[in-house]
């Protein structure tokens, strides 16, 4: 180990500058990192919502009465969209097969009569549930609409509504969605996309920066230089953390705020400190990868292998309570899981350390473990 502290600092500074210089000279890499923190987030966030909207409804109306028209009209925008009539069942099946219509409703010829007389009558509804999520939304909305329609018609027939002064014992619900009014994904998706980019780059950039030296052979030069393994390794992580933090600033102030009107409710300093910790510790994965592999194709595969489960199972798309128990526990080992809780908490809920401390503790513990593992592998290989 070289002696004094000043010397170490000098080594670190020079090496960090070298990494930044190398990064800046790769013009395509620079462009794509800017893209990742701006256009990519914009594209991901614009217009994507996980809600049933404009589901096409095709109808075979054998009754053509005021009642049947009323019913069709109850399937309203924005959830449903009346697509047209189609009396021919085979052709309707074709429409369903081709995905041109999602629902196909058959109204029987005696529909109006039966409703007026109080006789039982039946509506057929075929629903394309090949997307199970949309299918379940569509079926539950349709069931509510038809049930409401039935009650309304029965009340008209028995003229109870009028007699009782329009009052009936019913339970209505008033919904309030917290942290994301209107239940829009417009807030959720772009933030999540930013987190994805942070995670991806914080694993990949240090790994790639290290493996590149291996592949080109410049690592030999570094090893014979007076630098210690830590002095080779840490500047790469510092430099890439800096790059990513600049990217985050671009994303938060350039895209999330102005374009999507996402309020930043919490403490900015806390957000930056925790983001820096997250990026730094996640880089440990990258360092560990760089000790196992020899070329960048392998880096790519390893990153995909590690990153994709982390992203999709981080609790961002599927909450932990909906996962198999074992995966639910494994998720706790992913630093991203804790980080997402932190960012959503600071961003949307405006909460501070008093609420977030379990996630922060989780991030610190997992992050330290990851980074120590990366450092240990690195020192063993290059020490």
């Amino acid at each position: 180990m070289p002696g004094n502290f000043g010397e170490i600092l000098q080594h670190m500074r020079v090496m960090t500058l070298k990494e930044l210089l190398q990064f800046r000279r790769d013009i395509f890499l620079l462009i794509v990192v800017i893209y990742a923190f701006s256009i990519d987030i914009y594209v991901a966030g614009s217009g994507i919502e996980m809600e049933l909207k404009q589901a096409a409804l095709t109808v075979a109306d054998y009754d053509q009465s005021p009642a049947s028209r009323d019913l069709i009209y109850s399937f309203r925008q924005p959830q449903f969209k009346f697509q047209g009539m189609e009396m021919n069942g085979d052709r309707a099946m074709d429409l369903l097969d081709a995905g041109k219509t999602m629902l196909y409703m058959e109204i029987p010829a005696d529909f109006n009569e039966a409703l007026l007389a109080g006789r039982p009558t039946q509506i057929q509804l075929l629903v394309d549930t090949s997307n199970s999520v949309l299918g379940s939304l569509a079926t539950s909305y349709a069931a509510q609409i038809v049930a409401g329609f039935g009650i309304q018609k029965a009340m008209e027939r028995l003229s109870v509504g009028g007699a009782m002064g329009g009052s009936l014992p019913m339970v209505n619900s008033a919904h309030r969605v917290w942290f994301n009014p209107n239940g829009k994904d417009r807030w959720f998706v772009p933030i999540n996309e930013m987190l994805t980019m942070i995670t991806m780059l914080s694993i990949m950039l240090p790994a790639a920066a290290m493996v590149r030296e291996k592949e080109r052979g410049t690592v030999e030069q570094l090893l014979v230089s007076p630098l210690t393994p830590l002095e080779i390794m840490l500047p790469k992580v510092f430099a890439m953390t800096l790059v990513i933090l600049i990217g985050v600033t671009l994303a938060v102030f350039g895209v999330l705020g102005p374009v999507f009107d996402i309020p930043f409710r919490g403490n900015m300093l806390l957000f930056y400190v925790l983001t820096a910790i997250y990026v730094f510790s996640t880089a440990g994965f990258g360092l560990a990868i760089s000790t196992v592999v020899n070329n960048l194709a392998q880096v790519g595969l390893m990153v995909i292998m590690l990153l994709s489960p982390m992203l999709l199972l981080s609790g961002a798309f599927v909450p932990p309570e909906a996962m198999p128990k074992i995966l639910g526990y494994l998720i706790l080992l992913s630093p991203m899981h804790h980080y997402i809780e932190i960012v959503m908490g600071i961003f949307l809920k405006g909460v501070g350390l008093d609420v977030l401390w379990p996630s922060v503790a989780g991030l610190l513990i997992v992050g330290t473990a990851v980074f120590s593992f990366g450092t240990w592998r690195f020192r063993r290989q290059f020490g």
Partner: protein, 384 residues
Amino acid sequence: MNWARFTAVVAKEWAEITRDRLFLVLAFVVPPALMVVFGLGMNLDVENIPLAIVDHDHSPQSRDYAYRMIDSRYFDFKGYLHDEHQIPKLISRGDVRAVVVIPPKFGQDLVAGRSVSVQTLLDGQFPLRANIARGYIGAINANYSQELISSFLSRAAGLSPDQARQQMGNLRLEMRMLYNQSGKSIWSLAPKLIMMVLMMTPPLLTAVSVVREKERGSILNIYASTVSRAEFLLGKLMPYAGISMVNGVFLWGIAVFYFEAPFKGSFGFYLLATFIYSFTTTGIGLLVSSFVKTQIAAVVITMVVTLVPAILFSGMLFPLSSMGPEAQVIAHLAPAMHYGQIIDGAFMKGIGLDRLWPSVVSLLIYALALFLLAYYFFTKRPQE
């Protein structure tokens, strides 16, 4: 195109792949591993939503109403709360995702024939789940209301309870769920996962294989040789498209035998579509490789341009019909969406080329266009 030179490039590339043991293993292990992990973890069935109830009424009616929520398999009842003060903390921490607040005089109002409004607070962090939970609560309310009204009617209009129920429930809805009768999300998800996983690795591998030669300088041998541009690019593409095809068969096996997703279409059609798709995905990698000079850039760019559209715009998580106009355009530009439609048709609907030919043709156009662009931009006389 000279066949001998073309096969020589393929053979060289293949030798390079097989000599890199770690790479070879990863190329065949990563896709199936991803498929299994995603399939197990991406549970989109919305059940066991953690629920708490605040009952300000404490009447028999309010307890009866609360039990309808508690008994539902869609909710996981976490307990009664004394008042609303605890709600923000519980939802912030994700301990509960929905809270139902029953107002005072709930029972009294209902008995008197007045309608009552019940507050539902939902955690919007998972919008899809909030929407579905809202649907469930709405359905429970509708059901409960219908019973209330019929018993009210029997008192008010002097009907017997049976008559009243018949009068209220004379309109029946018979619903048939097509293509995925079970409603299991894995049946819908498994085919889409094939699409996503096959989009993840092939472009990356192809791009890196070309750029590596640039970075190492071995591409100078190609520049100086008689190998033409088309022979070189196609020769680079072949092995990776082949790996992707083999993985396509593996993934199909995992979807059908492990996840037990129904496959109603023809396997031959699936192979044909996957074959074209493999050339499209590797074509993306080829195009990227013609621009960049370093492997880092190649890796980062391919991941950003392929992964995001494959996850967001393929209709896997977010339905196409729900997208705004800009997103619709982007979705149609992403080849993953077309393959997604094909594979949905082949798996769940059992339809083939006769119906899906527009998507197949789109994919073909992609494959050709990508290759031609890469051909156009790749030059044997680079300007330094």
